[in-house]
């Protein structure tokens, strides 16, 4: 496992199920951002490897966030994992089309997030 795994978690105030720090059983640096601009601003400094987008926003806004990350010079090559509470199964295809690497549906199973991160790191 890479020691310099930099994980940026973009979550907003309306997220029901926040990412639990204790559930992230992977060596890394963790950055929680409640705005996209904060996440992009940070990215210029730390070159993240993984973004976890955990937003309680309407689906369309989530797609917009993914597109913004992919359009940013500092984020375009990172892994983007979307965690969503959406019931809309078409969300998966739309998020992937917008540039996400994986879409996970809440509630997450134990270890699910870590195993997805690790699958992209190996």
């Amino acid at each position: 496992m890479n020691k310099d795994l930099e994980i940026v978690i973009i979550e907003d105030e309306s997220t029901d199920q926040k990412i639990d720090v204790d559930a992230l059983t992977v060596p890394c640096n963790l950055y929680f951002c409640n705005t996209l601009s904060l996440a992009v601003g940070l990215s210029k400094l730390i070159y993240p490897n993984v973004y976890i987008v955990d937003l309680g926003l309407p689906d369309g806004n989530v797609i917009w966030v993914i597109e913004q990350l992919r359009n940013s010079e500092y984020c375009k090559d990172a892994v983007v994992i979307v965690v969503t509470a959406s019931k809309d199964k078409s969300m998966h295809a739309r998020a992937i089309a917008a540039g996400a690497n994986e879409v996970l549906f809440n509630p997450l199973e134990k270890g699910q997030l870590v195993s997805v991160i690790e699958s992209f790191r190996t």
């Binding site: 720090v21 890394c28 640096n29 929680f32 951002c33 409640n34 940070l42 730390i46």
Partner: protein, 566 residues
């Protein structure tokens, strides 16, 4: 029966004992006259000069005991050499460590034992001068003092044995070394006195500023007040640190307290604001902890050490990096063993640090190739203090140019209940009833602090008298005073002397010591003299009320409360 512990310095102690070459030698009059004198002075049947060998205690001098040695396991003296103070057992038959000891249950039927450790000139406790009786008894202060004097004579005699073995040249070298040591000790004492005076002169105005700011809690200048208080705290802490830095005896103790990362970051940003403005650097802070860990006081560490460490790194970046941007990110780090840490990542876009300088950078007094002023203390203090709280500071070269410093401390969540002082007024109505019954005598030599302290306490307590030193306090004191608040450092008569005299006069009421140095010698001196509690200077309402609440819980105001209720 409990056998004596073996000290961690046992091998060095045995080496020092063997070096004396006194074990198993004939009796000598110079030691025997001391044990005879001790036996007569204390009126005890047995007095010994006992030396603690590896497995036995052997008696160099012996009055009244029909034995030349005993096993170390059953010896009283084996216990006595574990500490500097005289070891006293008033009634061994009642002491759980000794009641079934064969020296108690059989010959010589020890009931009373007093053993004053004997040190070699190298400082190792190799034996004791001890007094033993067959009946329980108690030693007076005078008797203890006499025993101490006689033990010093034994130590001198042992020292003479060493001296006689030395050649003339060696004796001269030793004499010179002792003279030099004596001079150094004198110089150190003068340095301490000088620093004590300087610190006192600096503390007084800062303490006054802090007390004044503390008493103005209206909203209008709340933010300014916070900054004034923080700056005053920083200066007071700096004075304490200077004192500890020159003292060989004490280190600043670790003081864990709860903190929120948001408050800590705000406090750091405020501390560096003037340097940021003066240097024209663009400083940007990113708080990236999850919100539930960011805002509340959920973490615990010695926050002063941590704050000084982070602040030093940012100040250095602003002053020395020659960059135009400084960034700080607070984040969570998870290591390979999945331990969690709090990180403060500080980076700049300056010139960076040459590789050759990096390892030396954290040493005392080392400065890099910088155009700015500095003493080379900041990174040394940062590294030392962070290590003391289980953390570290690291330097990394930045890929895109400039420097990266990382401050890392273990993520330790505070116990939600520990250390929560109940707000006295809310926690117990008894305090509200007690405070107006307090008749306080406040002793403070600085006129401004005296006035401010009186102003602070007057609305809280029933009555307050003030006076300027220990001598005037003794004159002003009367039986109606049920609380004495005394400063440590005062002309004519110090707080320690005042406390000793009041206790000697039979005053059993509460005495609170107030001193800038709530750690180390001054605090210990005050407690030994008989104060109930030592509070930090400057006082504030919360500290005072918490102390009264604590003393009330200890029952120190029970009589007063009973009188009031009656």
């Amino acid at each position: 029966m409990r056998a004596p512990n073996i000290p961690t310095w046992e091998s060095e102690r045995i080496e020092a004992l063997l070096k004396l070459e006194v074990l198993d030698t004939d009796p000598e009059e110079r030691f025997d006259r001391i044990t005879r004198l001790l036996s007569r002075l204390l009126n005890v049947p047995i007095a010994l000069v006992s030396l603690i060998d590896k497995d036995r205690q052997w008696f160099k001098s012996n009055v009244g005991l029909d034995a030349s040695e005993t096993e170390r396991d059953i010896s009283f003296c084996g216990h006595a050499i574990l500490n500097d103070e005289t070891f006293v057992i008033e009634d061994a038959s009642q002491d759980p460590r000794f009641h079934d000891n064969p020296l108690v249950t059989g010959y010589p039927n020890i009931r009373f034992y007093a053993g004053r450790p004997i040190k070699t000139n190298s400082g190792y406790r190799v034996g004791t001068l001890c007094a033993i009786d067959h009946t329980p008894r108690r030693l007076s202060a005078d008797e203890l003092s006499a025993m101490d004097d006689l033990a010093k004579i034994v130590e001198n005699e042992l020292d003479n044995i060493t001296l006689l073995k030395l050649s003339k040249a060696e004796r001269e070298i030793r004499l010179n070394a002792e003279t030099a040591l004596s001079e150094l000790t004198k110089l150190k004492r003068r340095q301490d006195q000088l620093f004590g005076m300087v610190a006192h002169e600096l503390r007084t105005p800062v303490a006054a500023i802090k007390m004044m700011a503390d008493q103005h809690d209206n909203d209008e200048w709340l933010s300014d007040r916070k900054n004034v208080m923080r700056s005053a705290d920083d200066l007071l802490n700096t004075i304490d640190d200077m004192r500890l830095l020159i003292s060989t005896d004490h280190q600043r103790p670790i003081r864990p307290e709860k903190f929120s990362v948001e408050d800590l970051n705000a406090s750091v940003s405020s501390s560096v604001a003037s340097i940021v403005a003066a240097t024209g650097v663009s400083y940007q802070l990113y708080n990236t902890l999850p919100s539930h860990l960011m805002h509340d006081d959920v973490f615990e560490t010695d926050v002063y050490r941590l704050r000084v460490g982070i602040t030093n790194i940012i100040k250095n970046a602003c002053l020395h990096s020659e960059g135009s941007h400084v960034w700080m990110i607070s984040r969570i780090h998870i290591d390979d063993d999945l331990n969690q840490y709090l990180d403060w990542w500080v980076a700049d876009d300056g010139v960076g640090i040459p590789k050759a300088q990096i390892n030396k950078f954290f040493e005392l007094g080392v400065r890099g190739d910088t155009k700015a002023e500095g003493a080379g203390l900041g990174l040394y203090i940062t590294k030392t203090w962070l290590a003391e709280i289980g953390g570290k500071v690291e330097y990394r070269h930045r890929r895109s140019g400039g420097s990266e410093f990382l401050v890392r401390v273990p993520l330790k969540l505070a116990d939600k209940t520990a250390g929560q002082q109940p707000e006295p007024a809310k926690a117990d109505k008894g305090l509200d009833g007690l405070l107006p019954q307090l008749n306080v005598l406040l002793v403070e030599d600085e006129a401004l602090l005296r006035m401010l302290s009186k102003k602070l306490l007057e609305p809280l307590v029933g009555h307050i008298d003030v006076t300027e030193n220990g001598s005037s306090a003794l004159r002003k004191f009367d039986a109606s005073h049920n609380l004495i608040l005394t400063d440590y450092f005062m002309p004519q008569m110090s707080g320690v002397e005042l406390t000793s005299k009041l206790r000697a006069q039979g005053y059993d009421g509460v005495i609170i010591g107030v001193t800038a140095a709530t750690i180390g010698e001054q605090r210990d001196e005050m407690l030994n003299a008989g104060v109930d509690i030592v509070l930090p200077k400057p006082l504030n309402k919360e500290i005072f009320k918490n102390a009264i609440y604590k003393l009330m819980e200890q029952g120190r105001f029970d009589d007063l409360i009973r009188e009031t209720q009656a």
